[in-house]
C-alpha cells in the first residue's frame, strides 16, 4: 500500500483543525469560529469551493462580523435573512438555527438569504442541518432558499448524517499542494517559538544563565540546547532519517 505525494487523504480531525486555525486568524471570536470548523470540509466533500475557497477567501475574512446577519422580514414559517454581506459559511449557523426554530414552531420552515458572499456555499447547510435533526433542501439561484422540516432521527450517525459518516470513514482526497498551502496558512495561528516560550512547558526550566529549575529525574535525557537555542537547533524538524 503506497501513499500518494500529489493527492493526500485527509481525515476530519486535521481538516477541522486547519479550518479552525485559519478562521482564528480572522479576528472572529473563539465562541463563533469553534462552531464553523466543518464548513470547508463539507464544502470540499460536496464539490463546492472547499479548501481552495478557504485559501482564496482567508485574507478577506478579516473583519468578518456574523452579528451583521439580520432578519429582513418574517411571515409564519417563512423568513428573509439578510446576510449582512458576510461569507455564506458565517451565515449558515444562524440560518440553521432559524430553520430549526421555525420548523419546531410551524412544522416546516423556509428561509431565503440575500446579501451573502459565495451564496452557493449555503448548500453546506443542508448537510449540517441534519446534525440538528432537520431534513433540509436547498434551491440555488438569485435568491437562494433553504427549506426544512424535522427529521426522524435513528440515533445512528450513518443514517442520520450520512455525509458526516462518510467523512469519518473515508476522509477526503485533496491536492497535496493545496493542502500544504492551507496548512502553512493555519500554522500562522500557532505561537512563534522562543526561549521564553519553551519555559511554558516541560518538566524543567532552563534560565538564561543555564541554571535549571526542576528535578532532573524526569528520565528523558533532555538535550538542554533545545531549551536554550530553539531556533538554531531546528533546521529540519520534519525528518529524523531512517
Amino acid at each position: 500500500m503506497s501513499v500518494s505525494n500529489t493527492v493526500l487523504r485527509l481525515m476530519p480531525r486535521e481538516m477541522r483543525m486547519m479550518t479552525e486555525r485559519v478562521f482564528s486568524l480572522t479576528g472572529l471570536p473563539k465562541g463563533f469560529f469553534l462552531m464553523v470548523t466543518d464548513m470547508a470540509m463539507y464544502s470540499q466533500r460536496l464539490g463546492l469551493g472547499g479548501f481552495a475557497l478557504l485559501e482564496q477567501r482567508a485574507p478577506g475574512l478579516h473583519g468578518a462580523d456574523p452579528s451583521k446577519v439580520t432578519i429582513a422580514s418574517e411571515d409564519g414559517g417563512r423568513l428573509l435573512l439578510d446576510g449582512g454581506n458576510q461569507h455564506a459559511w458565517f451565515v449558515i449557523p444562524a440560518l440553521i438555527d432559524l430553520l430549526g426554530e421555525l420548523a419546531h414552531k410551524h412544522g416546516n420552515a423556509t428561509v431565503t438569504v440575500t446579501n451573502v458572499v459565495d451564496a452557493g456555499e449555503l448548500r453546506v447547510a443542508v448537510e449540517l442541518a441534519a446534525r440538528s435533526g432537520l431534513a433540509a433542501t436547498f434551491t440555488a439561484g438569485a435568491q437562494p432558499t433553504l427549506s426544512a422540516k424535522p427529521a426522524t432521527m435513528t440515533g445512528k450517525l450513518a443514517a442520520d448524517e450520512p455525509l458526516h459518516w462518510d467523512l469519518l470513514q473515508n476522509g477526503l482526497s485533496i491536492d497535496a499542494d493545496l493542502w500544504w498551502r492551507v496548512y502553512g496558512l493555519a500554522t500562522k495561528a500557532l505561537a512563534p517559538d522562543s526561549v521564553v516560550s519553551r519555559r511554558h512547558a516541560g518538566p524543567v526550566i532552563v534560565n538564561d544563565d543555564g541554571t535549571v529549575i526542576g528535578r532532573k529525574d524526569s528520565d528523558d535525557e533532555t538535550d538542554l540546547t533545545l531549551l536554550l537555542k530553539p531556533r538554531a537547533t531546528e533546521p529540519n524538524k520534519e525528518s529524523v532519517g531512517l
Partner: protein, 551 residues
C-alpha cells in the same frame, strides 16, 4: 469536580488499560513477534501480529540507534529510538515500505488507510543500558535500579483518530476490537512495552554468547513509560461528554459495589482486604520520588487504616463498632475525614473488583461524541434557569482580580506543543484555553440584559455570535453530571497537574505518576500486566499493584 479531588482518582478496573487488558485476556488475544531485524547498533525493523477473535492487526516499528542530540521527552524533541504504526490487517511488505517512507516525515507524512496509530518511543537510557549490560553478561538487571522507573522505554507520542491520516476512531464502531475509547492508542502502548523487552534481550544476544533473557518476573514487572502534560487539559476541554461518561460510569459502579450487603465473614470483605494489602505492599515498595503529590508511604499508612476497618468488618460485621445497612459505603464515609484522598480513591478503585461484570459492562459503555449543537427554540429564560441551576460554581469564582486571567494557553509553532505561560510573556499567542468561568459570567450578563425572556436562543445568538459555542456546550451537557472541572484554568491558583493526573491515573490507568513543576507527569503503563503468553493462555486475575520481583 474539583481538580484536586479528580487528581486523587487512582487506576482501577475501569481505567482503559486495565479494562482493555482484561478483555485481551478474556478473549485470549494472540500477540506474536513476527520479525525482529535489528542490528547491534539498534537499527532495524520489527513486526508484531495481534490476532483478536474478530480481526487481525499488525504493529510495524523501526528501531533507531539512540541519539542525544535534540532528545527530550517533550513533543518538541526530534530524536526517537522507535517509530511505528498500528495497522489493521497483517503486515505486508508494501505496508512496511509505506510507513518506512512516511513516518519519518511526521507532520508532513501520511498514514495509510489501514493505519490506526502512529507511535514514537524513547529508551530510558540509564535503565535500558544497565539492563542490556546485565543481560549481556549473563546476569539479571538489579531490581532496585529497574524499580526507580519501572520501564525500559517511554512513550513519546501516540497519534491517531485522523492525525497524519490515521483512521477516525468514531468510524470504527462498537463492534471493532479497538473501537472503545483510546483503545487503539493503549494497545499500541502495550506493544511498545513488549518491544522494549524484546529489544533489550535481542541486543544483549547480539553482544554476547553468554547473554540471558529477562527473568519472566522482571519482564512482567516492567511496563512502558509515559510522559504527559498540558495537552491533556485541552483534551478534557474538547471531550466533555467523554469525561462525563467515564466519571459517571465509575461512580455508578462504585455505588453498586458500595451497596453490597457485606456481613461478618463475607468472602468479599476478605477479597477486598487482600487487595488493599496488595496496594499497601506496592506503596511501601514504591521508589519513585514525588514533588507535590502525596507520597506512597503516607498513602500506605492510610491504607493500613482501611485494612483495619475491613478487618473489623470481616471479623464482626461492624463498621467502627456499628451495624450498617451498607457497610462498604459506611466504611468510606467513616474513613473520608481520616485518610488522604488518594487512599480513599484506592479503596474505591479496588471496590470495583467486587463487581467485575458490572464494572466491565459500564466501562464498555463509555462514549461521547464531540459535536455540540444549538437548541434554537429554547427561550433565553429557560437558558438562564439552566445556567443558574448548573453553573453557580462558575458564577461564584472571582474573575475580576489580576490573577484571574494571568495565564494563557497556547500551542507553539514548533511541534504544536501545548504551553501555558504568563500572558505578558506570550504576547503573540492566540488564547486556546476555554475560559468557562469568564464565559458563563459574560453570557449570563448578556442574557439578563435582554428584556424579552421568551426570545429564542436562535435570535439571541444572531446578536451574540461569540456566545455560540458556550451556549451549545451548555445545552448539550445539560443531562450530564460530571463534564467540567470546577476551576478557572487561567488563574494563578490552578494546578494543571491535577487534571493531567485525572487523565493519566484515572482514565489511562497509569501507575506511579510522578510530578514535575506542577505541569508534567511521568508514569508507567501496564505495570505488572500479563505477558503475551499469559494473555494467550487466558490467565485471569488481578495483575495491578505488582510486587518487586525477588530473584
Amino acid at each position: 469536580m474539583r481538580p484536586e479531588r479528580l487528581a486523587a482518582i487512582q487506576p482501577g478496573r475501569m481505567s482503559i488499560t486495565r479494562s482493555l487488558m482484561n478483555r485481551m485476556v478474556a478473549e485470549r488475544w494472540d500477540i506474536r513477534k513476527e520479525r525482529f531485524d535489528v542490528d547491534a547498533a539498534g537499527a532495524g525493523t520489527v513486526v508484531y501480529s495481534i490476532k483478536t477473535p474478530r480481526q487481525e492487526f499488525s504493529f510495524i516499528a523501526f528501531s533507531f540507534p539512540p541519539s542525544g542530540k535534540a532528545r527530550t521527552g517533550r513533543i518538541i524533541g526530534r530524536a526517537w529510538d522507535m517509530m511505528g504504526t498500528l495497522n489493521e490487517g497483517p503486515a505486508t511488505q508494501a505496508d512496511i515500505d509505506a510507513v518506512r517512507s512516511e513516518i519519518p516525515k511526521l507532520y508532513r507524512g501520511r498514514a495509510t488507510a489501514k493505519s490506526l496509530v502512529w507511535a514514537r518511543a524513547n529508551r530510558s537510557m540509564r535503565v535500558f543500558d544497565q539492563t542490556l549490560a546485565a543481560l549481556a553478561s549473563g546476569q539479571q538487571p538489579a531490581v532496585e535500579m529497574l524499580a526507580q522507573v519501572c520501564y525500559l522505554m517511554r512513550n513519546t507520542g501516540l497519534d491517531g483518530n485522523g492525525t497524519f491520516g490515521t483512521r477516525s476512531f468514531p468510524s470504527l464502531g462498537a463492534g471493532h476490537p479497538l473501537g472503545g475509547v483510546l483503545q487503539a492508542q493503549l494497545v499500541t502502548a502495550y506493544l511498545m512495552r513488549e518491544y522494549s523487552c524484546d529489544l533489550v534481550e535481542h541486543l544483549a544476544s547480539l553482544q554476547s554468547d553468554k547473554a540471558v533473557r529477562l527473568d519472566p518476573a522482571i519482564r512482567r514487572f516492567l511496563g512502558v513509560g509515559n510522559g504527559s502534560a498540558l495537552g491533556l487539559i485541552f483534551f478534557i476541554q474538547k471531550h466533555p461528554r467523554l469525561i462525563a461518561s467515564w466519571l459517571a460510569a465509575r461512580e455508578e459502579a462504585i455505588a453498586k459495589a458500595s451497596a453490597l450487603p457485606i456481613g461478618k465473614g463475607d468472602a468479599r470483605a476478605e477479597t477486598l482486604l487482600t487487595l488493599i494489602k496488595r496496594a499497601i505492599a506496592f506503596r511501601r515498595e514504591d521508589r519513585v520520588v514525588y514533588e507535590s503529590i502525596a507520597n506512597s508511604t503516607d498513602i500506605a499508612n492510610d491504607l493500613e487504616k482501611v485494612a483495619a476497618a475491613l478487618t473489623e468488618l470481616y471479623s464482626t460485621g461492624l463498621v467502627d463498632g456499628r451495624g450498617e445497612t451498607y457497610p462498604l459505603q459506611a466504611l468510606a464515609r467513616h474513613l473520608e475525614p481520616r485518610i488522604k484522598s488518594e487512599a480513599l480513591e484506592t479503596y474505591y478503585s479496588l471496590l470495583l473488583e467486587l463487581v467485575p461484570e458490572t464494572a466491565d459492562a459500564l466501562a464498555a459503555s463509555v462514549s461521547g461524541v464531540d459535536e455540540v449543537n444549538i437548541v434554537p427554540s429554547q427561550t433565553i429564560g429557560e437558558l438562564i434557569e439552566l445556567i443558574e441551576a448548573q453553573y453557580q460554581w462558575a458564577l461564584d469564582i472571582d474573575m475580576s482580580g489580576p490573577d484571574a486571567h494571568k495565564y494563557i494557553w497556547y500551542k507553539s509553532e514548533t511541534a504544536e506543543e501545548p504551553r501555558r505561560g504568563a500572558r505578558d510573556e506570550a504576547p503573540e499567542a492566540l488564547d486556546l484555553g476555554f475560559d468557562l468561568c469568564g464565559g458563563i459570567q459574560t453570557l449570563l450578563a448578556s442574557l439578563r440584559a435582554e428584556k424579552d425572556r421568551k426570545l429564542s436562543v436562535a435570535r439571541f445568538l444572531m446578536r451574540h455570535p461569540d456566545d455560540r459555542y458556550l451556549v451549545a456546550r451548555i445545552q448539550a451537557l445539560r443531562d450530564f453530571a460530571y463534564h467540567s472541572p470546577i476551576a478557572n484554568i487561567n488563574a494563578e491558583n490552578f494546578t494543571p497537574i491535577d487534571l493531567v493526573r485525572l487523565m493519566n491515573a484515572g482514565l489511562h490507568g497509569i501507575d506511579k505518576t510522578r510530578d514535575f513543576l506542577r505541569r508534567n507527569l511521568r508514569g508507567v503503563l501496564y505495570h505488572g500486566a500479563p505477558s503475551p503468553d499469559e494473555i494467550r493462555a487466558g490467565k485471569e486475575g488481578v495483575w495491578a499493584y505488582p510486587a518487586e520481583p525477588r530473584l
